[in-house]
Amino acid sequence: MKPARFAYERPRSLEAAIRLLADGGDGAKLIAGGQSLGPILNFRLAQPELLIDVRALPELGVARDEGDAVFLGAATTHSAVEDGRVPDPTRGLLPAVARTIAYRAVRNRGTLGGSLAHADPAADWVNAMALLDVEIVAQGPRGERRLRASDFVRGPLTTALAADEIVVGVRIRKLSARARWGQYKFNRKPGEFAEAIGGFVHDPELEVARALVGAIGDAPYVVADATRLDEPAMHAAVASAGLAPGTYEHQIHFVALKRAAAQARAA
């Protein structure tokens, strides 16, 4: 299908984009790569009055080393992460996740910030960023806010962003040389949305041991202290994520988590 009619603006600055978004109210919607919004527009599931294209905003295109962390602008494409064209603070985790997002033609346009703001519970960045508990930097008429990824997604397609705020980028702490991670995405065909995501990261120097049960139809479920994550604890985590023991969903999420943890321990 073809989208319903909308107006289109391509502001030159972040400030101008925020103003357009605030003035546009409920009828205004941001677009960057458009790889999630595009299909939604084509299906007419969304019929915004105004699209504000933020893809080329200079503030959203930066990638910089901040010492203990790396800042990646919201308009960073998945393929830029996949190819290592931006710094990787995670010792391979981010490029590995990027490679499994949709297809190369989608990764060339889809963006990190767009994926987070869209907040599909099965989306790869939504889950990876919750596992890493990155800071999401948002800008609005009232200034800058930093939101923790672990409570950024509030539910399916729902975030902690205010209606007039724009994701500017994410700040990701650098994992140390002693860090180990594992990530397992279960889907039936490469590039599809996950049916289950398991994640595990352990960094003794940062004192981080986290695990993730993702793609659960809701905000990602994070185990904040996964220091002793044996199989009974994994089953308990998956059950706490809302997936009843004995169900297919419980089993695939348990296996995803188990494989992620095994990958981390073998690394």
């Binding site: 677009i31 595009g38 084509n42 297809y103 190369r104 060339n108």
Partner: protein, 158 residues
Amino acid sequence: MKTPLSLTVNGAPAEAQVEPRTSLADLLREHLMLTGTNVGCEHGVCGACTVLVDGAPARSCITLAVACDGADVRTIEGLDDDPVAERLREAFSAEHALQCGYCTPGMLVTARDIVMRLPDADEPRVREELAGNLCRCTGYVGIVRAILRVLAERKGGR
């Protein structure tokens, strides 16, 4: 309501007046009469509409034409004299990598990207990279063989 737009298509400047809701695919097919790009699913899954935008494969059905103002777009018609595409066309023919041909323009754009970006790709990798281009005729066997053939040729030539 219409927005003026200027871009480069297959090496030549192109101008158009389009509604913002016009996809890049519809700009190419309906305004510029470049009907080699096929539109299948219109939601980014089937890959038939894949073209090059600024040198990289993109889905023209979920890319807005207005977002391509100033971009360099290359379609299957613009790959006539491309040496890699030429080798791929021969290999697709030799390996029976098409039957109805609907997926082929997008297949060739993706295949060219695989060959140029991943010179060491093996069969599993080629299949993984092809996951975003659906073919309902061939079962992919011929397509995978054709791409592997061109990869091997290029390795031999290095």
